[in-house]
């Protein structure tokens, strides 16, 4: 059974029907994981025996007649999501052997639905970044080019076909840019749709749990399992009154797609054409493309960084060496904090903590933080107004092609990469990244942004366009 050629639903069906055992499926998956990890550095941990035990348990349930929506489906989990079975590293060398006493809600729900966690995936320093370049374990290599970073290890795992599903996190765009760089489908759901309990987010306002797979159908299958109210994350209260997931089947006929042409000026040379072509393809497929403007994108990016830096300085205060990480030998408390925090947080996390601390300090708060909150509000209004004129918005996911794995990018350049993703994070709207075309040998993705809880529509458009363009699924050997 080749996982890349069937849907998650079909895979679960073959396991549910007894045609394939979960154990057999996972055994093969684990083998590929190990082989591909050698070259690509996708995993911080591969589950091994634990995954096989879980698979056997699923097989036993199925023997007893149970049907599970994700029976035997291999998933990867980004290493900022707590998972009690394997160490949870958070992208810090200090947590190499940290076993979380609890498992994140989204992981728990996947497992309850029969999915098998085959490994924890690589991430940036305290998950701060959209490249994996600041990972203490080094970057994850892009399956399309060994010289380049993958953007997200989960996306790489899905692109290589070793896994059907990657559970990811996304604050400023890690999930979406990873999907864009690896040529797969990534969904950042509506804020509050998926519980973040167990996600060590550096930015509580914008951090979300999402999924990556090879089709819109697949991400929706997963979303339906993980979405819904969870009393352990107050933001999911928006789901209390509504059924979880994508809703009923949707008609994509005659949908209007907003195209903010000016936004594409920010792209690296050579990428604009991909989106112009995409616009033609969407029009040809029967969508009505509407010209509109999103002039606040640059300010939105700045607001995102001010707010997320501020929050990260506070969210990461808990890593003080008292309860987490190794306590360093120190003469007094002050020294203990600076030593411990210096070793727990990597360079990028330290940089962001220092900026964030400054931004919230007396004198800076009003100048930067309060202003950023105002911009946040304006951006929300700008996107809401835009979605008043159309059903979906089209934006790039990344400004440039994936970065070089060997080179250390200037941090401001790296932050600027989030120009198209971070503003969407401010709005809480759902965003689905799917392939738009290619630039040379590299896949280039685009974001479809919809109204709250319109994930189903976005996925349907996605699957229709993938069929229309006939570029995908990509084959990587």
């Amino acid at each position: 059974m080749e996982l890349r050629k069937i849907s998650i639903r079909q895979a679960a069906e073959t396991v549910n029907s007894g045609e394939v055992t979960a154990e057999g499926l996972i055994e093969k998956t684990l083998e590929s994981c190990s082989i591909l990890n050698e070259g690509l550095n996708i995993f911080t941990q591969i589950a091994g025996i634990d995954a096989l035990e879980q698979a056997k348990a699923i097989d036993r349930k199925i023997e007893k007649g149970e049907k599970l929506p994700l029976a035997g489906v291999p998933v990867t989990v980004k290493d900022d999501l707590c998972y009690g079975v394997l160490p949870t590293g958070f992208g810090s060398p200090a947590f190499k052997e940290f076993f979380s006493p609890y498992t994140a809600t989204a992981v728990e729900r996947l497992m309850d639905a029969g999915a098998i966690v085959v490994g924890k995936t690589n991430l940036d320093d305290m998950s701060m970044g959209s490249t994996t370049a600041s990972s203490p374990d080094g970057p994850t290599i892009n399956p399309w080019d060994p010289e380049r970073t993958a953007g997200s290890a989960g996306a790489a795992a899905v692109a290589t076909g070793i896994c059907m599903l990657a559970l990811e996190s996304d604050s400023g765009g890690a999930l979406r840019q990873g999907a864009s760089h690896c040529g797969v489908i990534g969904l950042r759901p509506t804020a509050g749709q998926v519980s973040r309990y167990g996600l060590n987010t550096f930015c509580s306002s914008f951090g979300q749990v999402g999924v990556t797979a090879i089709s819109g159908e697949n991400v929706i299958t997963a979303l339906e399992v993980i979405a819904g109210f969870d009393e352990r994350d107050a933001s999911t209260a928006v789901c209390k009154e509504r059924a979880a997931g994508a809703g009923t089947a949707v008609d994509t006929e005659g949908l209007r797609i907003g195209y903010p042409a000016a936004a594409f000026d920010h792209l690296e040379p050579g990428l604009r054409e991909v989106f112009e072509q995409a616009r033609e393809q969407y029009s040809a497929a029967g969508f009505e493309c509407i010209d509109l403007e999103l002039p606040l994108l640059p300010e939105a990016l700045q607001a995102y960084y001010v707010i997320s830096l501020a929050e990260s300085s506070s969210n990461h205060s808990r890593f003080d060496g008292i309860r987490f990480g190794a306590v360093e030998e120190a003469g007094d408390l002050e020294e203990l904090y600076s030593k411990s925090r210096g070793s727990i947080l990597g360079r990028e996390a330290r940089r962001r903590s220092i900026f964030g601390t400054h931004l919230l300090s007396q004198g800076s708060y009003d100048l930067y933080y309060r202003q950023a909150l105002r911009v946040w509000n304006l951006v929300r209004r700008e996107f809401a107004a835009a979605l008043g004129q159309c059903d979906l918005l089209m934006l790039p996911a990344a400004k440039t092609l994936p970065g070089r794995a060997a080179a250390e990018a200037d941090f401001l350049d790296a932050w600027t990469e989030d120009l198209f993703c971070a503003p969407v994070s401010l709005t809480g709207l759902p965003s689905l990244c799917l392939p738009a075309g290619q630039a040379g040998k590299f896949p280039v993705g685009l974001q479809l942004i919809g109204r709250p809880f319109s994930e189903g529509i976005m996925a349907a458009v996605c699957d229709r366009m993938i069929r229309e363009i006939e570029l995908f699924p990509y084959g990587i050997s």
């Binding site: 987010t201 107050a234 987490f324 919230l360």
Partner: protein
């Protein structure tokens, strides 16, 4: 130079709730450390807070009992600072928008006039853990049982003018909060904590002088004494023509003096910003109305009821209602023994003395209201005399044994047996012929002396009414 004293108090009160402010851990004292903890109150990564709605109710009740305006929309902010007892590296507190503001309570000023003390704000916040310093070695340990316990902080305007007023404010505050059933307000146990801001200014001047903050007072008396000490210290500085330095001082109870904790330059910049993980606290006008209507009876109302329903003197009513648990005790006793004035005398007299000596509140004693009722019944039944009853009360209070058992074990039953008493009466009369003579010549008052002699002979156990009767009968022949 004459100075006017300006004092403002900040009082932290632990709210009585089943569970902590942001998790389901019990809000209860246990001696064993780190038992009442979970990922949330230990600040584990990815463990989001969720607000205890009953704690909000309690804070609302406290605010209403203190005559505050209620904010229908308030929220929690993060107060960022590092200390080992703060698991997240920040405290969740209503910094920008307190639930209650603009309240007041009434006290007696130093001249005995009624005075309004304005309460600037009442806000909710979470408690921190506790540092425990090991007796041997130089290690410190942290107990997080208290971490996340709900508090309200009650801040006065600078309206207090003396240590005595400050003490009376605290007594009144405690009474109100106990009556409102929001806290037990036991300062010795830490469920009420008080910091004081104090400054002096020459009489007649409008502007405030520089203030100091006093911390670490463990009783109302300590608050009073530390303020007296600080008035003296600041007065001496000002008389020398020097300036008082703005700083935080720590009261040392053993030495009855203050030491400097931190100066102005070391003051924290808490970098407060609104917590992005908790939704706002929203109340409706109806909910506030309901809470106001449900406010428990306060001391003044209860005293008035005691006067009208039980015909108690004003003095008795005031003493009995001075604390809610004493008034509860009184009323519980009346349930079993319906003689208000007798119960009042015993509660205000013997019982209060015993409680005071033992340093207990009425609800902490093992001598229950039912025990007192039973004791009083035994007097009425002629089983013991009032004098013996006082001994029984004390023995029962100390040992925890029910009064009837004490009477039995100690053989204190009153002698009401004619033949037994007649023998003693005969003996006393024979030994005191002078007194008998006096009685017969009209000085009948001497009978009291003779009764006393019989009581002495019987170790106080004789029924005094019966003795009187027998004596008269014998003398008058």
């Amino acid at each position: 130079m004459e100075f006017e004293v300006i004092i403002g108090l900040e009082v932290h009160v632990e709210l009585q709730t089943e569970s902590k402010l942001f998790c389901a851990c019990p809000n209860r004292f246990v001696p064993e450390p780190n038992v009442n903890t979970c990922p949330v109150c230990l600040g584990f990564p990815g463990a989001f807070p969720r607000l205890n709605s009953f704690a909000v109710q309690q804070a609302l009740t406290a605010s209403l009992a203190l005559n505050c305006e209620i904010a229908l929309f308030s929220y929690f902010d993060r107060k960022n600072y590092f200390y080992p007892d703060m698991p997240k590296g920040y405290q969740l507190s209503q910094y920008y928008e307190p639930i209650g503001s603009g309240g007041h309570l009434m006290i007696e000023d130093d001249q005995g006039n009624l005075k309004k003390v304005r309460i600037g704000r009442v806000h909710m916040e979470e408690d921190a853990g506790k540092l425990v310093h090991a007796l041997s070695g130089d290690a410190s340990m942290v107990d997080y049982n208290r971490s996340g316990v709900p508090l309200v902080e009650i801040v006065t305007e600078p309206d207090l003018r003396s240590p005595g007023e400050s003490r009376r404010y605290l007594e009144q505050l405690k009474r109100i909060l106990q009556y409102a059933r929001v806290s037990d307000c036991k300062m010795e146990e830490g469920s009420l904590r008080c910091d004081a801001n104090i400054s002096l200014r020459p009489v007649g001047r409008e502007t405030f002088g520089s203030k100091t903050e006093l911390k670490n007072m463990n009783s109302f008396k300590a608050v009073e004494r530390s303020l007296e000490h600080e008035i003296k210290r600041q007065g001496e500085i000002l008389r020398r023509g020097e300036e008082v330095i703005t700083q935080t001082l720590r009261w040392e109870e053993d030495k009855q003096e203050t030491i400097v904790m931190r100066g102005k330059l070391e003051a924290h910049d808490y970098r407060c910003f609104t917590d992005p993980e908790l939704p706002p606290v929203e109340l409706t006008a109806e909910e506030v109305e309901k809470a106001l209507a449900a406010l428990p009876e306060m001391a003044e109302t209860r005293a008035a009821r005691f006067i009208s329903d039980f015909s108690l003197p004003e003095y008795d009513a005031a003493v009995l209602t001075s604390s809610r648990c004493l008034a509860d005790y009184f009323e519980a006793c009346l349930e079993c023994y319906n003689n208000p004035k007798v119960v009042s005398n015993w509660v205000m007299g013997e019982l209060s003395a015993l409680l005071k000596n033992a340093g207990l509140e009425a609800d902490q004693s093992s001598f229950r209201a039912e025990d007192l009722a039973d004791l009083l019944k035994m007097i009425d039944e002629g089983l013991i005399s009032g004098k013996i009853a006082k001994d029984v009360l004390e023995k029962s209070f100390q040992s925890g044994k029910p009064p009837r058992l004490v009477v039995e074990e100690e053989g204190l039953l009153q002698i009401s047996d004619h033949s037994e008493l007649e023998a003693v009466v005969g003996k006393v009369l024979a030994e005191n012929p002078d007194s008998v003579e006096k009685y017969r010549s009209g000085a009948t008052k001497v009978i009291g002396f003779l009764v006393g002699q019989v009581m002495k002979e019987t170790g106080g156990k004789a029924n005094p009414g019966l003795v009187n009767e027998l004596l008269v009968k014998k003398i008058e022949g």
